[in-house]
Symmetry: C2
Subunit: 455 residues, 2 copies
């Protein structure tokens, strides 16, 4: 009898696993269970459909179920939710379009992803209160926008990167946008003066930000939101609200099946993407992996690592046994905030301290182009490093030239390089693209100088 | 008596050496001899002054001689040419503003740079025939352009990166531009279909290119150029001509002093930037250094490595002895050709073969952004690697996102990484900046797949 690989989840990690398993094994049966009606789409593009930069949600769909079925002999079951896993008998209970059933597997990959958190605040079920994570959420929001939103005041709850992307999207649609954030700053993934730059950019674009306020209630009449009330009784008018306060790993199914769950609440995996049960793998936003810089187990839900973990899980779950290793996560991330590129890689200061490093940090401002070349702008860099000269992390913000510069730091982190190595990189120089000594190296130089062992 | 450091040459490498020596030693006497009237300028910006993107040559000047004298106690002698070096007595003959003299030194740094080649073709001394390397050349060209050029046909001799930058500059000034190139392609630093992309970009901008033609004569009346005649008797009208056929190391002075000269014609240096004479160092475009990828001695005249070599030479020549090492050149370079970014790093195919590697090469086309995100464009990548999976070089061309992507490859080359390592990098992804799997990694993946040991 043929091996049967079952994959729960049909977006980034799940489909990467399915495709990789098929490349490795033309023979095995592969089935992907997707509880929604959508597979294979770029969820990261949703803010740009809301802003109308991308015409339709359809543009975000990469491949249809037929593509996987016809071209790769991968069975796709839509509206099919795995309700229980029974590791002892290698079987699942499913709710397949309303019909209950059981599916057996030789190997299983859990790629259930993460869910947007919507705190059970009074009024969160009012019409016009949205969370945005999946295509189905976006569909609902777009219909609401087209049918019900003439007044044009939008409130975004949360100033993380999803919140900021949504703020930009609503501005692009002509809304007056207010962000309500419970902490005193934007974007926990960066720090220091970089946060101020992001706040400046939001304000420059007319976004109002209220810090240090928690939402106590969504209020409205006739079942539709009209205002947000905070715990300090601040009232913010809202024709529409989006909650972007974070995501949580979809690990309940794994937990109920007795799989080991990490302190973050996500599924524990080893370097082969194996869970605590031999023939069950996990990949993507539902699981923890090793951070390559700290060596610690972390949960860092992002699309690109999800795809890579999916490849590893698929290669190992296709019947030949666990052979491929995931090399570990660096934690690289970029977000567009209006005209600003905001990026990070590696460890933040707190994370580095908690990981036991003797941490120092510097901030550096440098021009993106030769000083005399027009239209350059400042790049703000924040470097996290240990006092023995090893780079631990980098954060950058600027109007241009951030996106791939963060990748140079990410490469250095992958190779465990020291600040001195980076200072010695031979980087591309021409006046339209960089100053003679690149901002990457100027920042590193400042860190070395601060340590007193300057070049 | 105080140590005396003398530096010949006051642009990139020379001033980097002077500043680094001063940082290391507040005490020693430092003198910089510059044979022209200009120091401390960004020669790479000249094409953009010609195109009027930068208003004036003055904008290219970083610091005045007074800055070095007053702030750093570095003596700057303008119009002072070193005419002979006498290593045995540690002294120089100089022509100082027409007056002959002798200057002694404790340590000497030769940073004489490179000169633009102007072949002694009949008519090369006609008015309107230019070479562009130094600020003085640019001054002469700008005066010529303002006073004598109403007809507006420009011929550029040579399709290397200087020639292409100048072609763009003259187009920006409204000239009808023809490039005459003796070989059959543009830019020897890249290869394969990337050259075709560059040619397409030139043609799209109205530049005519004539390949396989050598200039036999510049011809004209009343002492001014009117046409170029090639060896095959092709005649090209020209109101003005610029020769950009390459540069040659200014190593004659060193050669006459008996210093070892490499096969390239540039001064031989060791990892400490020492020449064959103990207290004489060399840095920048006048010398050979070790290529970090091939381990071979190479001459690769470019601004950023020149500055770094200058730092090393200055640190070692300040009296404490040779302590700092130059880590070796990777050979990274970028040029803007109209709306295209064209870059390279590491070894080209020929260079890699000559260095004894078992070379293979792939080409890869990938999108700069998520497929659904507007205004993305194709990035063309050419990877050079050895069949055991080590990256040897990369070349890229595209309308956006090339400048710092080449730096990721340069970083990988610095760390001697394998293709597999690069495929495992954790790079920044967001739809406006990159597809989920970056072009960097897609290209690497194709190389790995070709080798049959795909992930």
């Amino acid at each position: 009898m043929k091996d049967k690989l079952v994959i729960i989840g049909g977006v980034a990690a799940g489909l990467a696993a399915a495709m990789q398993a098929r490349r490795r094994s033309p023979e095995i049966a592969i089935t992907v269970l997707e509880k929604s009606q959508d597979i294979s789409y770029g969820a990261c593009g949703i803010p740009y459909v809301i802003s109308r930069k991308i015409p339709s949600l359809e543009n975000l769909i990469v491949h249809s179920p037929d593509y996987f079925r016809d071209k790769h002999n991968i069975e796709i079951k839509l509206n099919c939710e795995a309700t229980e896993i029974f590791p002892a008998k290698s079987a699942l209970h499913v709710n397949d379009n309303g019909a209950k059933g059981e599916i057996g597997y030789t190997n299983l990959v859990i790629a259930t992803g993460a869910a947007a958190i919507c705190p059970p605040i009074p009024g969160h079920d009012l019409e016009g209160v949205h969370v945005i994570r999946h295509l189905s959420h976006a569909r609902k929001l777009l219909i609401d926008l087209e049918q019900n939103c003439p007044h044009r005041k939008a409130v975004i709850v949360g100033a993380g990167y999803i919140g900021l992307e949504l703020a930009e999207s609503f501005c692009a649609r002509g809304f007056q946008v207010t962000i309500v954030e419970s902490s005193n700053n934007v974007m926990r993934t960066i720090g220091g003066s970089l946060c101020d730059r992001v706040v400046d950019e939001l304000k420059r674009n007319g976004v109002e930000i209220i810090f240090g306020e928690r939402v106590a209630a969504f209020e409205g009449q006739n079942g539709r939101i009209e205002r947000i009330v905070t715990k300090n009784n601040l009232v913010v008018e809202a024709d529409i609200a989006c909650v972007g306060v974070g995501v949580t790993a979809n690990s309940d199914l794994a937990k109920r099946a007795g799989l080991e769950i990490g302190t973050s609440g996500a599924i524990t995996t080893d370097a082969y993407q194996r869970t605590s049960v031999a023939n069950i793998y996990a990949a993507g936003d539902c699981c923890e992996v090793i951070n390559r810089v700290s060596g610690k187990r972390v949960w860092f839900p992002l699309g690109q690592p999800a795809v890579k973990q999916g490849w590893v899980a698929g290669a190992n779950a296709c019947g030949v046994g666990a052979q491929e290793k995931y090399v570990g996560l660096i934690g690289t991330n970029i977000v567009k905030v209006f005209d600003m590129e905001v990026a990070r890689t590696g460890l933040g200061v707190e994370e580095a301290r908690e990981s036991g490093f003797d941490v120092d940090v510097i901030e550096s401002e440098n021009y993106s182009r030769a000083g005399y070349y027009p239209n350059g702008s400042k790049i703000f860099t924040r470097l996290v490093y240990d006092r023995r000269g090893k780079l631990l992390g980098a954060q950058m913000a600027g109007k241009e030239g951030v996106a791939q510069r963060i990748d140079v730091y990410a490469s250095a982190l992958h190779a465990s390089l020291k600040l001195e190595d980076i200072e010695n990189f031979d980087l591309a120089y021409a006046p339209p693209f960089a100053p003679t000594i690149d901002p990457i190296q100027r920042a590193v130089h400042e860190a070395i100088k601060k340590q007193g062992n300057g070049f």
